[in-house]
Amino acid sequence: MLHFVLRRLGFAILVLIGTSIITFVVAFVVPADPAVTIAGAKADPQTLAMIRQQLGLNQPLYMQYAHYLGRVLHGDLGRSYIMRESVTRLIAQRFGATAILAICAMVLSLILGIAMGMIAALYKDRAIDNGLLVVSLGLISIPVFWLGTMLLVVGGLYLRSFPLGGFSGPRSLILPTLTLALGSGGYYSRILHTSLGEVMGQDYIRTALGKGLSRRAVMFKHAMANALLPLITLAGLDLAGLLSGVVLTETVFDWPGIGRLAFEAIFNLDIPLIMGTVLFSAFLIVIANLVVDLLYAWLDPRIRLGEQG
């Protein structure tokens, strides 16, 4: 087990280094001259030279990257060009709103997905199963930003039961949560349906059915535990994605979270803030990956033993 943990940890570090190189390249190499981006096209040569000096842009690229990595390792993601504040602090300020939304959305998507997936598998190949399949495909196919807008129109304008955006107490959470959960709930139900289908074809299930247990009992008591594994992986990664901010939903609902922060950063070409939000997101996903892998190995001995053998 220790060997397994170490390997996963090593890989996580590798992935983070890779991610930091990619964000570094995107942010500093793609725009021809970051100094011009900061100072504007009309800046005089002295100002540009000064900015280059300050940012260390005269140094060779690998040195720049090393400095950048060194600062990131100390938790310093730089300062926002536009908001004149530390990127770490900006992200921390917005994290609360994003986290609440993320957790609500995740809980609701799992409830929806597990319920739909189980009912479909229980009535396999019958009308209910086919109906649920079409419903879940419909949910997957809805553009998230459009769903959010339509929910605002119906819930906020016609019914007048929900605020038209912003984060103001529990009621304001409902529409954005629905917006996020409907699509991923549909997706989870597909995943669970498929994995339940696979598990239900295995020998130990046939044994259980042969003993005379009902299909329902077998599914709940025997099949679910195994069938939920792929869903756990997916949900773990999705939660990390949600926690790092959902640009579209936060934009539609004027939600004061990290997604909107990233959106503003991109529009202002605020490079430290762009890199900060991308790196933060990658960091969360790597951690989630790691946790999911370990959880998986703990839950499923086949993986743990397979890796050792």
Binding site: F11, L14, V15, G18, T19, I22, T23, V26, A27, V30, P31, L133, V134, L137, G138, I140, S141, I142, P143, V144, F145, W146, L147, T149, M150, L152, V153, L157, R190, T194, G197, G241, S244, G245, V247, L248, T251, A262, F263, I266, F267, L269, I274, T277, V278, S281, A282, I285, V286, N289
Partner: protein, 269 residues
């Protein structure tokens, strides 16, 4: 393919075909010029009426005509983005699955790193840095969406490579290029077609999202995503402006999803 198509695939194909017909025949089908002010209500959006079944926008342009013409740009971006995505994904997946060993490890670790990056954020940042144009959007869509394709194709290539006919061809002295192109690729092809359908739906959604955020194909090209973005300002007084283009996106994405998932379901995946 010997087996008949399932009901879902037929419905999906029919939906895709009608879309193509609408896109090709747009000038014949659209009642008005999509870029001209045709309604007398110039200055504010007009609700659906007999003359304008889906209403008119704030510039007096006919929403129905704009949606019909929008099918052209949305489908074109969807299919072109899919081609970029599939080219990268299939190439990496086939190479990793065929050569295995070090090639596989390196390519798949790279894929894992790319999977870690937040796709939409990265796409937004790249488009913003490169400034939005058709080409930059296509490249960016391809760059952020190939990973899933590569993984699926790799898994399939891995299992096909170990089948007897591959071993036989290899021991007859066929070169790697020949093995991949003549023996491996045709056997992975059905799966590639399905992934192409699913990746088109993904591309359509991603392009719509970028357009909605103001990073789409520049105006006056009426893409569906951009129509929703423009409608956002008026959603309190004219919700139909956003509602109908959204339904069009839903229809297109659902068509490709029905086809792709229908096939996967028939294969028991």
């Amino acid at each position: 393919m010997k087996r008949r198509l399932g009901a879902m695939e037929i419905v999906g194909l029919a939906m895709i075909l009608t879309l193509i017909v609408v896109a090709v025949a747009a000038p014949l089908l659209a009642p008005y010029d999509p870029t001209r002010a045709v309604a007398p209500t110039y200055g504010e959006p007009g609700p659906p009426s007999r003359a304008f079944p889906l209403g008119t926008d704030e510039l007096g342009r006919d929403v129905l005509s704009r949606i019909i013409y929008g099918a052209r740009i949305s489908l074109a971006v969807g299919v072109a983005g899919m081609l970029v995505t599939m080219t990268i994904g299939v190439a990496i997946g086939l190479l990793a699955g065929f050569f295995r060993g070090t090639v596989d490890v390196v390519l798949m670790r790279f894929t894992d790193v790319m999977l870690t990056l937040p796709g939409l954020l990265l796409a937004m940042a790249l488009v913003a840095v490169l400034s939005p144009s058709l080409i930059s959007i296509l490249i960016v869509i391809g760059l952020v969406s190939w990973t899933q394709v590569a993984r699926v194709v790799r898994a399939e290539a891995l299992s096909v490579s170990q089948r007897d006919f591959m071993v036989a061809a290899c021991s007859l002295g066929a070169s790697s290029t020949r093995l991949i192109l003549r023996h491996l690729l045709p056997n992975v092809l059905p799966l590639i077609v399905v992934m192409a359908a699913l990746s088109t739906s993904g591309t359509l959604l991603l392009d719509a999202a970028l357009s909605f955020l103001g990073l789409g194909v520049p105006p006056p090209t009426p893409s569906w995503g951009r129509m929703i973005e423009e409608a956002e300002l008026y959603f309190r007084i004219a919700p139909w402006l956003a509602a109908f283009p959204g339904l069009a996106i839903l229809y297109a994405v659902l068509g490709f999803n029905l086809f792709g998932y229908g096939y996967l379901r028939r294969q028991g995946r």
